[in-house]
Amino acid sequence: MTETPSIAPAPSRSGSETLAVRASGVDRAFGGVQALRDASFAARPGEIHALAGENGAGKSTLIKVLCGVIRADRGAVEIFGTEVTRVVGPAARRRLGVATAFQELSLLPDLTVAENLLLHDPPRGRLGLVRRGRLAPVAREVLRRYGVDDIDPRAAAADLSVAQRQVVELVRVLAGEPRVVILDEPTAALPDRQVEWLARHMRRLRDDGCCVVFTSHRWREIEALADRVTVFRNGTRVATRERLSEAEAVTLMSGRSFAGAYPTISARPTDESALRVSNLSGGRLRGVDLDLRRGEILGVGGLAGQGQRDLFLTLFGARRAEGGTIEVDGRAVTVRSPKDAIRAGVGIAYVPEDRKAEGLFPPLSIRDNIATATLSRRATAGFVNRSAERVAVASIVDQLRIGAGRSTSGAADTLSGGNQQKVVMARWLLTDARILLLFDVTRGVDAATKHDIYELVDTLAARGKAILYHSSETEEIAHLCHRVLVLREGRVAAELAGPVGDAERIVAASIKESQDA
């Protein structure tokens, strides 16, 4: 992780006139939403080109237009000088050497890792028939080439962890020997170690003359990797630069400026215990103890897949506990389902990271989305009190600045990713729960919104909420949390007093063998 504030020098090969991808004057609307407006973009072979912008700026839409998943309403798209504006379908782009990893993972869950990797070019024998027996060995070879031989090529994709899936997805894209690689938020689901791994391969591709385009909300990565950055705002390109400081970038993206990446946490934990867990087991948990106090932000860190998710889900009743006890405000409780957890007497809320699968009701209105967890609070004899609902939703929408003044009766799927995440947050804030389980809630969220969320977390803690906080960005945990628990193999392997400040310390504790709390 380099600290250099400037971008690496432009590639030497830039003499060649051909552009790898070029979009000019592209418009694209979804219903009433103008996602791209006279957008232009160009990237050269042999460079790593970052696309930056707030949630909803149009990055993913541009990528989809570039790789043919959707068609532009207006404008032109060229790949290596070939005009492909009217050609739809990733299949056609693939033939031109374009490979894409989308923001939403696109592995096929029922297929094996091998089948996923070799879908387009499986090993074939006589008569051109697929040699099914060769699939796994060939795939293993590919995985080995990318240094990820811990993944079993015969495992179904659905059986992999999110991080593993992301890795396989990336291997699939990289291994096709593409001339253009487009990665939409490739690191959002990757633990730090794999981010390094990915960076290595992106650089190698670049050095081989490939054009690499990627998006990220983590400035650190953009700084470290990109040869050039293009910033989008409101569907339009506002700048393309070789050098850009984070502060400048944030201003370009949002029109706002921030004092620093992380706010100073003002909340102070009390002595009152809000949630006490002892010897909790089930799933990957092998006896977890923790004591979360009111007003405290308690971080949960560790390498990916050490039981963090199971801990959150079990506390929320979405997963069965096999042993151990949970006390809320000093009283033992049994949480058998999320319904139990939400109940006023318990008051636990869980905000998931994977909004597509666990949070959102895409076609339902923003209002319905926000109201779901608290329906019966505003109902008499089963009938919804609509005006009460409107009022409640309106205030939380204001507070979180959701959807830039859009009507709350619009469908939630017209919002950008970050705004969708805020909708899910809003649902849980409305429950007025005293214990908040925030699981990687800033994943895929833009800098400005992230900042908003950090401040929100601080405010909530200051109001006496107890917050259990997990993030795949260790640095976040290091800066935001009063205390950090490091999980390893389903147990609390270390407890660090916070703010830790330096992510390396958490990482070190995650790996170190014998350190007890």
Binding site: A91, L108, D110, V130
Partner: protein, 312 residues
């Protein structure tokens, strides 16, 4: 994939269990084992369902469902029975007709973007209407030569056709097309995103299902020796049942056509078991219904157990 294997083998397990039950009930009832007559007649009466079930399983593997197989079978039965010709060309024409009907479904589903169950509900009505137009009154015939080759009641020619069907599937499974069928059923949007030409693949799948229905029709006419414009109706639900018993997941992407074949045979055997067990025929559908649910329940339990073992 391991789970897929488990599901498929469940279809075989169900078949094995029903086969054993059949043998037990038969022999304890009649004091002897089934004869070649029994095996042959089971084979010949099941063949049409076997073919429809193979087609249905292809569609279900892509996450769809085909209710129109009933109409396609009816139409092809009507055409087969009302044309008297021994030329192979005529049989090919019937098969082409079935494939064309299937392709119509495929076009509407893949390019018209109408849900499979709705598309095929509508075309079911259209195809059945056409069948009635072709053969308003049951009848017609099939040349004895053709019958001799397809479902000779005296020799097991049916086995050859069954063998070819199985081989056909095994080949299909080993093509890139076969892999794509599973990819689409697993997650169509993702498959599309990674460059699987989903529309084209689905078009082919529905056309193949139509072809299978036409094959079924030809065998149907061959076993019954004449035609009926309503012949296809019962195949709608029985083919779905076969697919289900055969362990093909209704969400698509998991299972195999061979499982569906096993399911089809098992369903036929259930009729026979009930017959020889002396179950009051009025109660027959009760047991068939229970059989269906229990078979699938076993599958679900197995899958659940598998998921328990899988890390979260």
């Amino acid at each position: 994939m391991r789970e897929a294997l488990r599901r498929v083998s469940l279809g075989y397990l169900v078949l094995a269990a029903t086969a054993v039950a059949y043998l037990v009930v038969y022999s304890s009832r009649l004091g002897r084992f089934p004869t070649s007559f029994d095996y042959l007649s089971i084979l010949n009466t099941t063949l049409p369902l076997v073919f429809v079930a193979i087609g249905q399983s292809l569609v279900v593997l892509t996450g769809g469902i085909d209710l129109s197989v009933g109409g396609i079978v009816s139409l092809c039965v009507a055409v087969t029975a009302s044309t008297v010709s021994t030329s192979a060309l005529w049989l090919v024409a019937v098969l082409a007709l079935g494939a064309a009907c299937g392709a119509v479904n495929g076009l509407i589903v893949a390019y018209g973007r109408i849900a499979p169950i709705l598309t095929t509900l509508a075309t079911l009505s259209v195809f059945t209407g056409l069948a009635l137009r072709v053969l308003p009154v049951p009848g017609g015939s099939i040349p004895p030569q053709v019958r001799h080759v397809l479902t000779n009641p005296a020799t097991p020619t049916g086995l050859i056709w069954l063998g070819l069907a199985v081989a056909g599937w095994l080949v299909l499974r080993r093509t890139r097309f076969g892999m794509r069928v599973y990819a689409i059923g697993s997650d169509e949007a993702s498959a599309r995103a990674v460059g699987v030409p989903a529309a084209a693949v689905k078009l082919k799948v529905y056309a193949l299902a139509g072809l299978c229905a036409a094959l079924a029709a030809v065998f149907y006419v061959s076993t019954t020796t004449s035609g009926d414009a309503n012949a296809g109706a019962p195949f709608i639900l029985t083919s779905i049942a076969s697919v289900v018993v055969g362990g093909v997941a209704f969400t698509g992407g998991r299972g195999s056509a061979l499982g569906a074949v096993a399911g089809a045979v098992a369903l036929t055997l259930v009729i026979d078991i009930l017959f020889f067990a002396g179950i009051d025929p009025l109660y027959q559908s009760l047991f068939q219904g229970l059989f269906l649910v229990v078979a699938v329940l076993l599958g679900t339990v197995a899958a659940l157990a598998a998921r328990r073992r899988r890390p979260a």
